[in-house]
């Protein structure tokens, strides 16, 4: 017979067993097996051989990969744009006007819908005879006729625009929660001291939002480097690799060229870059960056 203590141990282990088994297969094993894979030429054809650092050497002399890496880093410019716009939106809907809840909910709709649906809609709007060109032409900004997604100069930026649009609602909600957690006395006090609305926002609200800005920026930096869906659906990385990013390039190498070893190696390079940013996040998080009265 098991005693009470051992019975409790057994109960604990039994409960964790299914989850641990699944994690062993799909989380721990891929991390352990993924690393050696990067040193092989594993693919569907030919014999698998250990090739040392050849995949990494190849990556850093592969102009397509370097361009994708450059684009992925360039993609980070969506981060400040998202932060500024979503903070503005949060301030805008942080009021007690009638119907403000409706607006909050409608800003969140792009977040919940699939990127496939969103990207299809935007792809159609970016057509040469599409609605974007019509609006810009009517407003006198361009003379129309830009094939946004087919033009190497604009494709990447058009896709970035969609990323910004899709993410705004998400970050707005976090900032809204942040705004609502700021004690209203601080803003009242500033008003009594004679500050106007803009001054309160500039000198009281924004500084108190700073920890949220840090958190949101790093979350969006990580997803910017990992961007996949919108690029894959709207341009597939084209035209002529102009909008190629590392996520799509890894996918192409793995599942179109079946060049698994090489794809794993470039995946690892990108993961290490993302990890660098996570370390920064954790470091700032520990420093009290997330404790907004500290």
């Amino acid at each position: 017979m098991l005693n009470t203590r051992n019975r409790r141990y057994l109960f604990a282990y039994l409960m964790m067993a299914p989850g641990l088994l699944l994690m062993a297969i799909f989380t721990f094993y891929p991390i352990i097996y993924g690393l050696p894979l990067t040193f092989t030429n594993y693919s569907v054809i030919g014999e698998t051989k250990w090739i040392g650092l050849a995949n990494f050497k190849r990556a850093f002399s592969d102009p397509d990969f370097l361009l994708a890496l450059k684009n992925s880093i360039l993609y980070i410019i969506v981060v400040p744009v998202i932060q500024i716009l979503s903070i503005c939106m949060a301030i805008l809907v942080n009021n007690n006007l009638k119907g403000v809840r409706f607006f909050r909910v409608s800003y969140f709709v792009p977040v919940v819908t699939s990127m496939v649906a969103a990207a299809i809609a935007w792809k159609w709007m970016f057509e040469q005879k599409g609605i974007i060109n019509f609006i810009l032409e009517s407003a006198g900004i361009t003379n129309g006729n830009i094939a946004w997604l087919a033009n190497p100069d604009t494709a990447l930026y058009a896709v970035m625009f969609v990323t910004v649009w899709k993410g705004l609602g998400y970050y707005m909600m976090i900032y809204l929660a942040g705004l609502q957690s700021i004690p209203s006395e601080l803003q009242e006090a500033a008003k009594i001291d004679g500050a106007n609305r803009a001054q309160v926002i500039r000198h009281v609200t924004i500084p108190l939002l700073q920890p949220f800005v840090l958190l949101c920026s790093l979350l969006s930096v990580m997803s910017a480097i990992r961007v996949f869906d919108e690029v894959y659906i709207m341009t597939g990385g084209g035209p002529a690799h102009a909008s190629m990013v590392t996520g799509v390039y890894t996918y192409v190498k793995a599942f179109q060229d079946f060049d698994f070893g090489y794809a794993a190696a470039i995946g690892l390079i990108v993961s290490l870059i993302v990890m660098l940013f996570s370390i920064i996040l954790f470091k700032y998080g520990k420093k009290g960056g997330l404790n907004y009265y500290g």
């Binding site: 964790m16 299914p18 799909f26 097996y33 019509f134 705004l168 929660a177």
Partner: protein, 273 residues
């Protein structure tokens, strides 16, 4: 007084413009899907469709197996959410409330995977799924994300906050370990459970590239993958693509509108927690 009215007018204008920006693409898609063929490629574009036709919706049901795709999506999502709920809850509970040898080791091993790089993730998953004979199956789509570290972490935090007295009282009354877990603990962490259901629902419903990798047969595709496939097949016929896309976003928008409060609380709570 005049000042306040003017202020409100400015705020409403800005809020409406932002709403148009956020919802515009979907409204434009809806408008396109209701147009007769002659008006679709018209320039300048016709904003409000006239005459209105539902032909595109009927046709798209005939050219693609939409009901099958919807059913596949429902199955995939139900299975994914159900498995996550089950495995993550029973895994988080002992980690939160029990002392047993190896607890900290297991916990840190789990947490550290959130930071460790896994560049070959999808590739290794694909190789495993193939070896397990799950290629081209629903289980193959769902299994790799049936346990999520994030969920385990979130649920563990929720279990930790339950006061010890609850557990002690039940133990004195002679409740079994399983009864304590199921009848006392699980009902107390309902908000955390709601959060992960919503998160996973959204993730599985909208998942797109992994189903394409695992599935060989387009008849098994969920909605998102089927739309991408349709786009490739029918790039010349946008009204059908628009109608298909509108159909695909309706369910998730309905679910969102019904649960919007929990959605938003869950989103914010998870990021702050």
């Amino acid at each position: 007084m005049v000042n306040r009215v003017a202020g409100a007018a400015v705020l409403y204008t800005l809020m409406i413009l932002t709403a148009l920006f956020c919802l515009g693409p979907f409204l434009w898609l809806l408008s396109t899907s209701l147009k007769v063929n002659a008006n679709i490629y018209q320039f300048p574009p016709q904003f409000i469709p006239w005459p209105i036709t539902f032909k595109n919706f009927i046709d798209v049901f005939n050219i693609m197996p939409l009901w099958t795709n919807i059913w596949n999506t429902v199955l995939m999502t139900a299975m994914g959410v159900g498995l996550n709920l089950l495995t993550c809850t029973i895994m988080a509970y002992p980690l939160a409330r029990f002392r047993f040898p190896g607890r900290n080791l297991i916990f840190y091993a789990i947490i550290s995977t959130m930071i460790l790089p896994n560049g070959a993730g999808m590739i290794v998953h694909f190789l495993i799924i193939q070896k397990m004979g799950l290629y081209n199956t629903l289980l193959g789509i769902v299994l790799p994300s049936a346990v999520t570290v994030f969920n385990v972490f979130l649920l563990r935090q929720a279990f930790i906050t339950i006061p010890q007295e609850m557990e002690d009282a039940a133990r004195i009354d002679g409740a079994s370990e399983f009864r304590i877990f199921w009848n006392i603990m699980v009902p107390m962490i309902r908000p955390a459970i709601a959060t992960i259901v919503i998160f996973d629902f959204m993730a599985f419903w909208n998942s797109f590239i992994w189903p394409i990798v695992v599935l060989d047969d387009p008849n098994k595709y969920p909605l998102t993958a089927a739309l991408q496939y349709l786009q490739g097949e029918l790039s010349y016929n946008f009204p059908y693509i628009a109608a298909g896309t509108v159909i695909s976003v309706i369910p998730i928008i309905i679910v969102f509108l019904l649960l919007q409060k929990q959605f938003i609380n869950g989103m914010v709570g998870a990021v702050k927690g």
